[in-house]
Assembly symmetry: C2
Homo-oligomer: 195 residues x 2
Amino acid sequence: MARKPGSRSDITGPRIRAAARRLFARHGFAAVSMRQIAAEVGVQAGALYLYTPDKETMLVDLLKDHMDELIVAWDAAAPGGGPLERLQAFVRFHIAFNLDHADAVFLSYMELRNLGPENFAVIEGLRRDYENRLEAILTAGQGTGLFAVPDTKLATMAIIAMLNGVNTWYREGGRLSRAAVGDIYWDMVRKAVAA
Amino acid sequence: MARKPGSRSDITGPRIRAAARRLFARHGFAAVSMRQIAAEVGVQAGALYLYTPDKETMLVDLLKDHMDELIVAWDAAAPGGGPLERLQAFVRFHIAFNLDHADAVFLSYMELRNLGPENFAVIEGLRRDYENRLEAILTAGQGTGLFAVPDTKLATMAIIAMLNGVNTWYREGGRLSRAAVGDIYWDMVRKAVAA
DNA sequence: AGAGTATCTGAACGCCCGTTCAATACAATC
DNA sequence: GATTGTATTGAACGGGCGTTCAGATACTCT
């Protein structure tokens, strides 16, 4: 056997990435073998090395692409207007985006420890870029007296952690719709930072 | 070689548990081998099986002991009084306990996926027991009109996620003392649930 | 001092790991 | 329809994995 009928790298490539993302999120990076990923796609393990130099690069590429996509999506969705409107938009955007990319979000928080120092620094830097966008909103609101947070850095971390928590319990078709969850969390965030 | 001078199970046992907890938290359950744990303690891998029937049991015992300790500690620390006092105590307790048991906390959130279904259910049940104690406080305050949360279950999850976030950034000897962090988070939680 | 028990070693078991590579079958191009 | 380049297989590499166990040493108790 050798090349398979219908084989094309622009089809196999995305399928490999999707399988890896799913399996890494489900079972953990270290617990998933290259052979498992390959089996999910329907190829042999050796074929994966047409698409990645090694396993760690596979992970770091997934994380980097996810963070890039997150930042681009927020920059496209972010409204103008006052700090209150921008904060509300951030809360709703963050919840929605995270639910739409649950596997990648989970990965980007749980598997950083499997990265070498320089890869770690890259992902950590992207995360800080994103967090800074929230902190800027809080700082703006603080400046106009609209918000009264004791510490904008901690408030940033607190809000993000709180919103990330949604991914741990939200189930599609459950008691609350996504919109309802957005409403409820916005209510709590709004009050938490209010002057 | 065989038994070593000074060897005692009530010394080796805790050392094995501590090494496993540290390594699992640092590198992930799947990424840590029994031989690594044994090396950290200074024994051969085979000796670990005097203390655990297998690797997964080692993990589940760590998680179960942690959750038990958490619940016992809160029940001992929980004050009487009104919902506001009890909520404040919870916020400060949770932050302090988590910082004192950072490895176990990390494990109990990251490594649940490495458990079989019945072990998973046990740990998940203990976590819910703990969360229910917070929810009871919120419900009490809601009843007296002291709090105004849109949904006590979501508020519970939101507060716990927010407090858990402290462990991801707090560093001993950093800009803020533990007490200062407690003050700041209590301020945000208090406002978030306020009527 | 001796018996009995607790603790640990060291070697072995079968199995799976990440990665490489020559061989080969298909796709794309002209 | 021949040629060139692409995608894949299948086998192999050295090595580490979780786990078991017979044998050996150290403690404990009488």
